[in-house]
């Protein structure tokens, strides 16, 4: 029998006997491997072989969750009891319901051309050390270098009391780097994050060394040639990294139904979009922002969510209006709709909540050159460093890392620390054209308590905004 099956099935059966109205259980085995190369020194190699079972029950109109890494029937019996007890103790006045969903029996896995498990750690270290060495040979001072390579192999078995039985396998690869370039007592810093669902072949898909070297060179150029960014209203051409973070922060997060309903109010916050906000205008008609778990090789790829619901593309903003919320079964029932498969958990020991997967601005048909050609005077911001947004997802800030002045369609000198500080509608309403150069970066999206930092992709093509205030 496949690993975890007997315990998960036992948990479902036992919870039913204990009176649960609904039960779901997840077995997960995760095999993470992670190292940091800091200034050329490998501090430590971290490897894991994590596994356990989590059980969530709906009983007495309330939810109870419990988890253990003791893979015995006795321990599972105990956590079912814990979950039932917790649900009963909730004494809710309003009953939690789950939206009715199709039961699924399926196996799915992400293919690996070269299995992550078959690549010796020496080879992985060599790959990153080679990039690090190249950075040190650039001819200017890269004062601090930090590279992190992470991989994980995630095997899950999900079952619920309605008859769903789903087994899945997701191998994931990620590189994070952080660089500090120093020149004449001044410094420029950057970070980038690339992710991949699949095998070791992902390392080639990124062109990592070229990208890192280009980034370091642009940092040096900013330090030696960069001028103060102009202040005032002007056009902005924002590169894929900027479009990606904006789509995640001011489109994805405000359309998470649990935030809209207040379940995250104390931590990640609420949303400027109210529960009846579907159709509300937030951007121009060329703005289409989607969240899609089924994008091949994107780091948050999945075919079924952690409530056993089939994944599909969701239009968060459609032609500038709120299209749909991201739902799990609880929020869908509360809003009288169906789940769109957005329930995810970091591991077996945490409940599945509403999450983004791969969120991006849908590409248009302009080349970057065409977008720039239409700019008399403005800024071309290719990437950002500092960013944040308020907890209702209305006031966002993106501070430029690599940015240039554009005059009559031509890229001129670099500028430093260009600040975009705009409301969500002001940002998206100013978009008049969308490029076709769709790119993704990876991110860790934080939410919930205990915090669940989850794999997510942030993406977009280059977009052009007209007449926005920059400083």
């Amino acid at each position: 029998m496949d690993e975890g099956t007997d315990l998960v099935d036992f948990a479902i059966d036992y919870a039913g006997k204990k009176g649960a109205e609904y039960t779901e259980a997840r077995f997960e085995r995760q095999e993470p491997e992670n190292f940091i190369l800091k200034n050329g020194v490998l501090d430590a190699l971290d490897v894991g072989e994590d596994r356990g079972v989590g059980v969530r029950v709906l009983a007495h109109g309330a939810l109870g969750f419990a988890a253990t890494n003791d893979l015995t029937k006795g321990a599972v019996r105990q956590i079912v009891g814990d979950a039932m007890k917790g649900a009963k103790a909730s004494r809710r006045k309003t009953r939690i319901r789950f939206a009715q969903e199709q039961t699924l029996e399926m196996n799915w896995s992400v293919p690996e051309e070269k299995r992550l498990a078959d690549v010796p750690v020496e080879e992985k270290i060599r790959e990153i050390a080679d990039v690090d060495r190249a950075v040190t040979s650039l001819g200017f001072k890269v004062a601090a270098r930090y590279f992190q390579l992470s991989s994980n192999r995630i095997m899950k078995y999900f079952a619920n009391s309605e008859g769903s039985r789903i087994r899945s396998y997701s191998p994931r690869l990620r590189v994070f780097y952080f660089l500090t370039v120093v020149e004449g007592g001044d410094a420029e810093q950057t970070y980038r994050n690339y992710g991949w669902s699949g095998g070791w072949e992902g390392i080639r898909a990124w062109d990592l060394k070229d990208r890192v070297l280009d980034e370091a060179r642009s940092m040096h150029k900013s330090l030696t040639e960069g001028k103060k960014s102009p202040e005032g209203k002007m056009d902005l051409v924002a590169g894929p990294q900027v479009a990606g973070i904006a789509s995640h922060e001011s489109c994805g997060h405000p359309t998470e139904a649990d935030r809209v309903l207040g379940r995250e109010a104390s931590q990640a916050g609420k949303s400027f979009i109210s529960p009846d906000g579907i159709g509300m205008r937030v951007g121009s008609e060329v703005v289409n922002v989607v969240d899609d778990p089924t994008v091949e090789h994107a780091i948050a790829f999945y075919l079924t969510d952690d409530e056993g619901v089939k994944a599909r593309r969701r239009y968060l903003y459609k032609e500038g209006r709120v299209g749909e919320f991201l739902h799990n079964r609880e929020t869908a029932a509360a809003m009288g709709t169906r789940s769109n498969g957005a329930a995810r958990a970091v591991n077996y020991n945490l409940e599945a909540i509403v999450r983004m997967a791969n969120t991006f601005v849908e590409p248009g048909d302009h080349s970057v050159e065409e977008l720039l050609e239409g700019v008399k005077y403005g800024i071309y911001m290719k990437s950002f460093m500092e960013w944040n947004i308020d907890d209702k997802r209305y006031n966002a800030k993106y501070a430029g890392r690599e940015a240039y002045v554009v005059e009559n369609g031509e890229i001129k000198h670099p500028v430093r620390n260009t600040i975009i500080e705009l409301t969500t509608p002001a940002f998206w309403s100013a978009v008049d054209a969308v490029g076709k150069d769709l790119e993704f970066e990876a991110g860790f999206c934080g939410k919930s308590d205990p915090g669940q930092a989850l794999d997510a992709s942030l993406g977009g093509p280059t977009i052009r905004l007209r007449n926005v205030y920059l400083r």
């Binding site: 190699l45 971290d46 490897v47 253990t68 750690v121 109010a265 205990p450």
Partner: protein, 437 residues
């Protein structure tokens, strides 16, 4: 469990490791999350893990062993993997034991607590009494037990238990307040007080007006000052300094804060961050980080201490030094005196999403949330919204004008990651920006 930790260490040594640490951790924590004034889920964990640190010919490996029924096989596998890793020339060993530890035991009443619904109800009730309409938050009973053994003779046990409640009260989407209750003793746990504070701020924050950009004298409530203190504490890890992630590099002995600021790191004093020992088994102790505005030390483990030609401060994580708990020494101002000092300024009660443009310079921004108040002549004249603190960490710490004479214990989701005791703070010329029209 003590035997298990020792067995893991001995097994690693028998396989050729030069150093080994095993920390067998039993987690029996329990949580209630609540929203819209009632529980949304109850979570409980029953987990046992061995966190291990093995060094084979200066190749450092860390892992969590989850299957404690097959420990020998796991250690063999991990040492095999370590052999394929790269040597760390900066590795300088682990601290030499054995050590003596201060006595410590958790409050039996906290350990015996099996249900937290009444504390949620007390907090929510407190907030509703003040005029709040909607409350959300979390109640935690932390119950975590550690058995640690090292190859350098440390052998230690620590049973850590505490209570925590975080509540956000809302009158409307833009009128909210936050309250925190935390304690290691049941008798000192005050969730209702946290609820009242959250509700009071939320009620006062009714009908907020868009704020105005500028530089202001600002009263920092303990929760947001705790966030600032958390930034300082985290950036003082020697590891962050080495990685280019700190504005405190090369600043030992230099002024990094106003003379009003003395900051202590101390895992040995009572707090919900209390620990008897660090990840190398070194007893926790009191470390003065900033003395009257002057930086005295970074936080170290054995390896970073050697790099900086000093001694460990008892702050080892398995790889990175980290603070256990931060204490900002109270000042001699009353809370009322601090508010009275503000002729035309702000009172900020909470923040989130602190991000840096440059970790080296300390240029950052952070977004106040919950009550934001305009103060004139010491009195609240208006509730504000939609502003951002855009400033520099060192400029703000150097601009502390006054600290109140009482501290409160803080810890909060994301922003105050390490428990701290902080007073009200008055900081001058704080940069405030807002979204463009």
């Amino acid at each position: 469990m003590e035997d298990l930790a020792s067995r893991i260490v001995q097994k690693a040594l028998s396989l050729g490791c030069q150093d080994a640490v095993a920390d067998v951790v039993t987690n029996r924590s329990y949580q209630i999350r609540f929203a819209r004034n009632e529980a949304v889920i109850s979570n409980r964990w029953r987990e046992k893990t061995a966190s291990v640190f093995f060094v084979y010919e200066n190749r450092v490996l860390t892992s969590d062993i989850k299957d404690l029924t097959k420990v020998d096989e796991a250690v063999e596998r991990l040492v095999r993997i370590a052999k394929g890793s790269q040597q760390n020339p900066d590795y300088a060993g682990i601290a030499k034991g054995p050590f003596k530890y201060a006595r410590s035991r958790p409050d039996p009443k906290v350990l015996a607590l099996d249900e937290g619904g009444r504390y949620v109800e007390a907090a929510v009730g407190g907030a509703l009494d003040e005029g709040a309409k909607e409350c959300a938050g979390s109640f935690w009973k932390y119950d975590v037990e550690h058995f640690l053994a090292t190859s350098n003779g440390a052998s230690a046990h620590d049973h850590r238990a505490s209570l925590y409640l975080s509540i956000r009260a809302l009158v409307s989407l833009e009128s909210s307040g936050h309250g925190i209750a935390c304690a290691t003793k049941l008798s000192r746990f005050e969730p209702e007080k946290a609820g009242h504070k959250a509700g009071r701020i939320a009620a006062l924050a009714r009908n907020p007006k868009p704020g105005k950009a500028g530089r202001y004298m600002v009263v920092f409530d303990p929760l947001i000052f705790g966030s600032l203190a958390d930034q300082v504490g985290g950036r003082l890890s020697a590891w962050t300094v080495m990685a280019g992630l700190s504005p405190f590099g090369k600043k030992i002995g230099k002024r990094v804060a106003s003379p009003a600021v003395t900051m202590i790191e101390d895992g040995s004093t009572d707090s919900i961050g209390h620990k008897r020992f660090d990840a190398e088994g070194v007893p926790t102790r009191r470390n003065t980080l900033i003395q009257k505005g002057v930086l005295k030390t970074y936080l170290h483990n054995t390896s970073t201490a050697k790099k900086f030609k000093t001694r460990t401060t008892g702050n080892a994580g398995l790889v990175f030094p980290e603070p256990h708990a931060i204490f900002v020494k109270p000042g001699d101002w009353t809370r009322d005196e601090i508010f009275s000092e503000v002729k035309d300024g702000l009172w900020l009660t909470n923040t989130w999403y602190t991000r840096y443009q440059s970790y080296l310079s300390g240029d950052l921004s952070t977004i106040p949330r919950d009550g934001i108040f305009h103060i004139r002549k010491g009195e609240v004249v208006e509730s504000w919204k939609d502003i951002r603190v855009t400033d520099n960490l060192l400029r703000m710490t150097k601009s502390v004008v006054a600290l109140s004479n009482k501290t409160e214990q803080m810890m909060w989701w994301g922003e105050v990651s390490v428990p701290n005791f902080v007073p009200y703070a008055l900081i001058k010329d704080v940069g405030i920006t807002r979204s463009a029209e």
